[in-house]
């Protein structure tokens, strides 16, 4: 029951519901997307006042141009070996993803999530950060682990919940955790890692440490309270952290308009808190590397946090439980105007004379063999439900540091079948 009748003198209101430009049956259209030329955005010093670079939140930092040349002030001037390592890590990530989807289809694991098309986001960041910097990722930054050379078989063991799984079969596939790789435990609850990363950075600062943290969140998950907490606390305490927003255009079936992407950019979120905010072509390895470096240097200089929007595209389904053909136009992936990060970096290396098709094919083959081999080693330890070595009594461990009496009792009950 309304409080009163609408005022007949006034025109009635209506509710705006965002709609993407394309859906199944409607051809994809990115023609209205503004894509500044590579090299066009200025690169300020790390001690710039955030208020002086607000425009960067609405631009798009790009280094690789359409010909594969690195141009402009953000060119990080990385040597070819480093670039080849980046290429390798991205290709390995993609090969790994492909295998893990296949084995999921075979019923060897319960679930999987790929990062296809977004590999640069994680790999370039991992390479621009120190190995000791602490990462708080989402489920789509497996590239961090790959770039940090965390063994694939460890990742597979987790996906299979097999007897080699360091997480003892407790977590769903891809919810990795690796203290050694400085890769924080992935939560099923979207956004929680983002604010925790700021807490970690505050602790590092309060401890006169030199290490910084970096966090990732999806476009969709920016709507969670934790996103706001992260930016608020990072601003108030000038926490040494990098707050990455991976805008891959989709959150399962919802396009980024449902997270506020119709009205402005995600980088603009940073302006609300007086944080420097950079918007970057997330499929441009060099650009991602460069902005991460910039933000890391700023954080290390005690100048606080930076917000980075990585503009990219989720080229595949959300997960193995998802069927994107139900809600996305068929050709969207190919119409995506910012290309593929692997192809773009390979092309750049080729332009430099540091890469060619043969080497590319050979590398692809080598990586495929590596993934196969790691896969075999991991499967030797079992796959989901086929890993008798896993000790079910261990499911009562680690609820607390010391097992309290009621869990001792429950464990006994389970073992007795009660």
């Amino acid at each position: 029951m309304s409080l009163a009748d609408p005022d007949p003198q006034r025109s009635p209101l209506s509710l705006h519901i965002p709609e993407p430009t394309s859906r199944p049956g409607i051809a994809p259209d990115f023609s209205t997307m503004r894509i500044p030329a590579a090299g066009a955005c200025p690169r300020p010093g790390i001690d710039v006042q955030p208020g002086d670079i607000r425009d960067l939140a609405f631009g798009l930092i790009r280094v690789l141009d359409d010909e594969g040349q690195a141009v402009g002030p953000w060119n990080p001037m990385v040597d070819a070996d480093t670039l080849r390592r980046g290429l390798r890590a991205m290709m390995l990530t993609r090969a790994y993803d492909e295998r893990m989807v296949r084995v999921q289809r075979q019923g060897k694991s319960s679930f999987y999530m790929k990062s296809t098309g977004e590999e640069a986001v994680a790999v370039a960041a991992a390479m621009a950060l120190d190995r000791d910097d602490m990462c708080f990722p989402t489920y789509r930054q497996q590239g961090l682990l790959v770039a940090r050379e965390w063994p694939l078989r460890e990742m597979m063991n987790q996906v299979y919940s097999n007897s080699g799984d360091l997480l003892k079969g407790r977590q769903m596939p891809v919810f990795y955790s690796s203290r050694k790789a400085r890769f924080f435990s992935i939560s099923g609850n979207l956004g929680t890692q983002y604010s925790q990363a700021v807490g970690w950075a505050m602790a590092s600062a309060a401890s006169a440490d030199t290490r910084i943290s970096a966090a990732w969140i999806g476009d969709g998950a920016t709507a969670e309270g934790d996103f706001h907490y992260a930016l608020t606390f990072a601003s108030v305490y000038r926490a040494p952290t990098i707050l990455n927003i991976v805008n891959n255009q989709w959150a399962i079936s919802s396009f980024m308009g449902f997270a506020g992407g119709e009205a402005t950019t995600f980088a603009a979120r940073g302006l609300a808190y007086g944080l420097p905010a950079l918007r970057v072509d997330g499929n441009d390895f060099l650009a991602v590397y460069a902005v991460t470096r910039w933000a890391a240097e700023r954080a290390r200089a005690n100048l606080g946090a930076t917000v980075i929007e990585l503009f990219t595209y989720r080229a595949d389904g959300h997960s193995t439980s998802d069927d994107p053909t139900r809600y996305r136009a068929a050709g969207e992936k190919d119409a995506w105007p910012l290309g593929d990060p692997i192809e773009r970096l390979a092309r750049h290396l080729t332009t430099l004379g540091e890469w060619d098709a043969d080497r590319h094919a050979a590398l692809a083959e080598e990586l495929a063999a590596h993934v196969r081999e790691e896969g075999r080693a991991s499967e030797a330890l079992g796959t989901l439900g086929q890993s008798p070595q896993l000790d079910r009594a261990s499911m009562f461990d680690d609820v607390y540091k010391d097992m309290p009496p009621h869990l001792v009792l429950q464990r006994a009950q389970m073992l007795e079948g009660n």
Binding site: G169, R170, Q171, N189, E224, S254, R326, L390, V399, N418
Partner: protein
Amino acid sequence: MPRMNMIQAINNAMDTCLARDPKVLIFGQDVGYFGGVFRATDKLQERHGLQRVFDAPIAEGGIVAMAVGMGAYGMRPVVEIQFADYIYPGADQLISEAARMRYRTAGEWWSPITVRAPYGGGIFGGQTHSQSPEGIFTHVAGLKTVIPSNPVDAKGLLIAAIEDDDPVLFFEPKRLYNGPFDGHHDRPVKPWSQHPAGEVPEGHYTVPLGKAAVVREGAAVTILAYGTMVHVALAAAEDSGIDAEVIDLRTLVPLDLDTIRESVEKTGCCVVIHEATLTCGFGAELAALVQQHCFYALEAPVERVAGWDTPYPHAFEWDYFPGPARVSAALRRAVER
């Protein structure tokens, strides 16, 4: 009569309410164009329009808050939390706001909202796609909590929940969406189309909130269950050969204490089962009530069989789940008193 699985029945309940009452409005993550990750809102946007069934930002706190605000305006919003495990960011708006709106305004405003959430384990969802958090909300005065165990109830209870002027949490055991899973995870589950409760009337009807159902009569012991555990209870009665009376509570708050009391006074013993963790779960309340109200009839302690007090472990789902074997053992302990 049409046959529906539980998702279809739930979809049909919302379809019915959207058609009858212009104040009903549905939103949540992926519920619009896509029709929900479990397809509960399939085709509802197409049928009722963009402004009545739509996607929402990934902010459960915001979703509940919007519903509370819309409820204050006079709408009857139905929101989906994609998994019950993700309800906690909405806890404050549920507990501090929706639950107390009528009270704190002495009836000037209220929250006629329904919060649906797929719930419970059994799909290898690990600790963040398997939870049963009802025990947190049943503690909160002002909220109602409903958990259906089959399609025909699900539709009638959901319509009743939507039409109810108090805030209702409607937890949908996702393991039951396709069939009456009874905890025998190694056996095929027969579809709802082969189950009498899969016969779901067309159109509008309600199953009243606050009324339990005796789904199996028995003399030896009373089993109190809801959701998936109703089917586990029936399986355990069958497996153990113990003549258990199985009560499907359907609504936890308000609770149908009369039906419980009547049964326990007849059988003299009671087993309480749920999938949620044991400590401070709703089973604690049930055990406390039964021992209080049926003390002199009880010949054995009220037994509780529940999820262990650990997070839901991905690979040990079936060691965690309180299946028919554990329930049968409890039945035996109860009758061999």
